[in-house]
Symmetry: C2
Subunit: 246 residues, 2 copies
Amino acid sequence: MRNIRMTISYEGTAYYGFQTQPKGNTVQDVLEEAIRVLSGEEVSITASGRTDAGVHARAQAINFRTASPIPVERWALALNSRLPDDIIVLQADEVPLDFHASYHAKRKTYRYGIDTSKFGDVFERKHRLHIPLPLRLEEMRRAIAHLKGTHDFTSFASTRSTKSSHVRTILDARIESGEGKLDIFLTGDGFLYNMVRIIVGTLLWVGEGKLTAEDVKRILKARKRAEAGPTAMAHGLTLWEVQYDD
Amino acid sequence: MRNIRMTISYEGTAYYGFQTQPKGNTVQDVLEEAIRVLSGEEVSITASGRTDAGVHARAQAINFRTASPIPVERWALALNSRLPDDIIVLQADEVPLDFHASYHAKRKTYRYGIDTSKFGDVFERKHRLHIPLPLRLEEMRRAIAHLKGTHDFTSFASTRSTKSSHVRTILDARIESGEGKLDIFLTGDGFLYNMVRIIVGTLLWVGEGKLTAEDVKRILKARKRAEAGPTAMAHGLTLWEVQYDD
């Protein structure tokens, strides 16, 4: 038995999220089926974390155990030839048997993409939220700075969160701006359910003048979901990177 | 009667090209139908040039005559609310009655996008040709330089070209490279049928070592389509910009 870790990339548009669920049509279902066809095995994939319906991944990390004799360097090409074109295996490597893609993830980075052009960029419409309004970028940058560090993020977690602690550490938070585009990058030791999307929805209210950067500081301290802004739409969110200690 | 010019952007993946044809489902059909629903008029759109099935446009130029009283500054928003999300009107302005989007186009720029990463970027798969091979970039740059200027481009035109002259001027030709990506930009006073795609197919043979830059000079002089490389796939091609004198 071996433990294989893969880095995978997917456009989430067509899927009901990463994790297997009764309605079917998830990234996990499609990957497990491709592995079954390739190796004849019914494997169970563990991801660094689930992604919601419509959310994308530039580099999601998964692992699974296999008794297949297929050499690890052959897995990526062999699976890619069996996967639909919106899911790609970028890399595969063998890891110790106790490696777990979720428990051992040390840092995760998400990107939330915003298209600020007047009518939207047709080529980015599935990967960026279109907000054709002037946004107060400097105020948004002051706001996001308040979120860095270790805090209780209850205000920025879905009320459906089942975690016993809402304390998380945001290691890096920045906004990059280009012509007609804004990219919000958040790196942390872990994120609560809907946390990135609620942070973005709140930052957009700051950008639109409905909140100030000081308000975001206050919202964080309030530890009440109702104080924060709305949950930004799924399609702007991309799981950018997952880092491990090895 | 007024003459309206529009800049439009589309992802060509779902269409049988720009121009109306018997099979239907073209960008022109969809635009003319949206205009009919908006204004009640049966207009006939003229584009700067047709684009083939699967080819995209970042900024295509079109014009049409209308008796509609709708103010020109309202057309873009009004049409965008009626168009499918893979076609966007970026701008509309009124032009003299004798303006013709094709005859009066002075310069056109195309981009051909190539993805050189090992397994391809899932988010660019519909807009870039995936060539997971090392390409000889410097030799490709030497080759493309031979195409600048005024030449008879018969070697790089489809044998189905119906133009009486194959002399065209390439004003600018360059290759930009980024991580896992190559962008080939060609600007000219006009392009023959399949010309950009045949140039790209030939440049890729140079990149792969099947031809040298000197061979491209020879192919150009031969004025025989059979001497050049293959026609590169449609989905990597994007009509980037159309320029007029005004």
